[in-house]
């Protein structure tokens, strides 16, 4: 609720919000820290921090590699919590965790969620946990006050979307196209229809992700969604040109 209100509030100021993504521990926490600083300073509205998992099925090659390298370097869930605690205490925007269900499951779902809430995380994106499998998770999120972000896909029927909306909080993450993260999306007529369907199905703000990488993409989303999600592009940018390149890139998006 808190998160939804933050978004609605922010939208009164901006045509569209920006959410960015990074993989914790990749290339390392120091760079993560710098990247987040650049993002926040340049007007990012929300940040999803991915806790790496060895089997990130929903992610494409770039984020997959980031997950693996992070783990190979020894990144632990505990380190991710510690880092997140530090970050939330330093920056005022909402932070979310993105990760796969096994990370929660193995930690203990309740313990994980309590801990996340305690360190100031506002919501979670768990792409391999449909509501049918997430009863415990959803109940606890509600109880603890964390937003369980639900995902819409172009393949979702309107009926399915309504069903998902029943469990959602914070906002809805609308996956812009089929496939995994990291590929360019073709924003065609179909896409507009899809977004219209999303809007009809829920009152929650809509974030749009997958393949958004430049100002044109962001502009295109104005009026269709509330939040543009920048994922793979910033990871690529950091790889190619370092953390310092993130600020100007973000600044140029809107």
């Amino acid at each position: 609720m808190q998160l939804t209100e933050y978004i609605r509030e922010a939208r009164t100021q901006k045509e569209i919000l920006l959410m960015t993504h990074l993989v914790l521990g990749y290339p390392d926490f120091t760079v993560n820290r710098e990247v987040i600083w650049q993002m926040v300073k340049n007007g990012v509205d929300l940040i999803e921090m991915q806790i790496p998992f060895s089997e990130p099925v929903a992610d494409g090659p770039m984020i997959l590699k980031a997950n693996q390298e992070s783990i190979d370097q020894g990144t632990t869930v505990r380190q991710c919590f510690d880092f997140a605690a530090e970050i939330t205490s330093q920056h005022q925007i909402p932070f979310l965790f993105m990760t796969y269900y096994n990370i929660l499951f193995k930690y203990g779902v309740e313990k994980f969620l309590n801990k996340a809430a305690k360190i100031g995380i506002q919501g979670l994106i768990v792409p391999d946990l449909p509501p049918e499998e997430g009863e415990e998770y959803l109940t606890l999120c509600k109880k603890i006050g964390l937003a369980p972000i639900m995902i819409y896909a172009p393949t979702s029927t309107e009926e399915r979307m309504r069903q998902l909306a029943d469990h959602a909080d914070g906002f809805i993450y609308c996956v812009a196209r089929r496939g995994v993260t990291g590929k360019k999306t073709d924003f065609s007529q179909d896409f507009s229809e899809y977004m219209a369907r999303c809007s009809r199905a829920t009152d929650l703000p809509l974030a749009v992700g997958f393949g958004i990488s430049n100002r044109e993409d962001v502009r295109f989303l104005v009026g269709k969604g509330d939040i543009a999600v920048i994922g793979t592009r910033t990871i690529q940018l950091v790889n190619e040109r370092g953390a310092a390149a993130v600020g100007p890139f973000i600044a140029g998006l809107r």
């Binding site: 089997e55 099925v57 997959l64 632990t76 869930v77 499951f105 393949t155």
Partner: protein, 410 residues
């Protein structure tokens, strides 16, 4: 099943939203096929005319005499077309694909057997076919890659993760989340999100149906024990289903002990204490993972057993103590393989040899009036590179060196 797709606490369908519709349709198509007795008849016809079903149940007198205990029977899945039980599942899914009207199939493969079987089915049914295979497995199973390609499939080496089976599964899912409209993912074992475990178990149940009838005809009564190797668990589930309702029949699943359970280099999820509950690759089961839930590297001489997860159905049967689990080390496997070749003229796949190991350990505990069945999931000649290597055969090595030189100077 209490909940949809659950076996006790295990199973489920932990899938990304983009696949929700696909799975819904798959469930409907599968349940309709299952309810339609003509579908099963078509399946049986196909397996009889294209593969070699019913596969024989061979009485292994020399091995029985050698161990001086139970009469050993071997269920001969090696005699299937393409050389392993994988054909049962794949041909069944092929018929389902035809029903669903899809034109392309994808699959993961570890040992390459499931890949070869899928490429075979795709050729037979006129489907486009892409096979994902860990780069390490591509290297150790080159002959299988060659055949897949020759049958018209595209084989994509997977370079992420440990570059083995689990990574190939992830990669196949990545394909599927973009291509699901016209593409079916032919899951190779009795794992993955619902309805795959149920579906694969159903198709593989043909093994157990036959085996039960055959042992009654040959031995006059039920076997005391049934042994099967367990990678994902499909061949084991296949034969076990023939005897699940016979409490007198003990069912034993044999996992890859690799270099020994103590070494940590193995793939024993249920035998031993290294497995723990988890959710990955779309389902909940016992995984080999660290305390954070990151999947561990596994090891087995048998590529087909080299997998972090295991069938949720087996995990449930293990928890309920209906199936007992054991592990066989690489070394034990080579010895059992050698003995079986010498005594019976039969070459089990390295995977299958795991079942033989445990059966040999236990045969002597039983008496001559009792029968045991070993499920021989596949034939070993596909494993020539691995087996000749493991036996350190000098003529083989020389042969390869010479061939290599010949090609190098081409």
């Amino acid at each position: 099943m209490n909940r949809q797709g659950y076996y006790g606490a295990w199973g489920g369908a932990f899938i990304p939203e983009v696949l929700y519709e696909t799975f819904r349709e798959l469930n409907i198509a599968f349940q309709a096929a299952k309810a339609d007795s003509s579908f099963w008849r078509e399946y049986i016809d196909l397996m009889q005319s294209y593969s070699c079903r019913p596969t024989p149940l061979t009485r292994a007198d020399n091995l029985s005499d050698h161990f001086g205990g139970a009469r050993i029977y071997i269920k001969r899945e090696d005699l299937n077309h393409t050389g392993a039980h994988k054909a049962n599942n794949v041909m069944g899914q092929g018929l389902l694909v035809k029903r669903m009207g899809k034109k392309r199939v994808i699959a993961e493969t570890g040992a390459g057997q499931h890949g070869v079987a899928t490429a075979t089915m795709a050729a037979k049914f006129g489907l486009e076919c892409t096979i994902y295979m860990g780069e390490e497995d591509v290297m150790r199973q080159r002959p299988n890659v060659f055949w897949m390609e020759k049958m018209g499939a595209t084989v994509i080496p997977v370079t992420s993760g440990s570059r083995t089976l689990k990574d190939a599964i992830n990669e196949a899912f990545r394909d599927w989340v973009s291509s699901m409209d016209g593409t079916h993912y032919v899951m190779g074992t009795v794992c993955g999100p619902h309805p795959f475990p149920e579906m694969v178990a159903w198709f593989q149940s043909i093994i157990g149906l036959e085996a039960r009838e055959q042992i009654l005809a040959a031995h006059g009564e039920l076997p005391a024990r049934v042994f099967a190797c367990v990678g994902g668990g499909s061949n084991a589930m296949g034969i076990f289903q023939g005897f699940l309702n016979d409490p007198s029949v003990e069912l034993i699943g044999v996992e890859a002990g690799g270099h020994g359970l103590a070494s940590g280099q193995h793939a024993a999820r249920l035998a031993g204490d290294d497995g723990s509950a988890g959710v990955a690759q779309g389902y909940k089961t016992m995984f080999l993972q660290n305390d954070d839930g990151q999947m561990r590297d596994t090891h087995s001489v048998a590529a087909g057993l080299d997998y972090v997860g295991v069938s949720p159905i087996l995990t449930d049967l293990w928890e309920k103590k209906r199936v007992r689990f054991a592990a066989a080390t690489d070394q034990e496997v080579m010895a059992a393989l050698e003995l079986t070749m010498k005594k019976e003229g039969i070459i089990p796949a390295l995977e299958s040899s795991h079942g033989f190991v445990q059966a040999f350990k236990e045969a002597g505990e039983l008496n001559k009036d009792q029968a045991i069945i070993i499920n021989m999931s596949g034939r070993g000649d596909k494993d020539i590179f691995t087996i000749a290597h493991a036996f350190n055969d000098p003529s083989w090595k020389q042969f390869i060196i010479n061939k290599g030189k010949e090609y190098a100077t081409d």
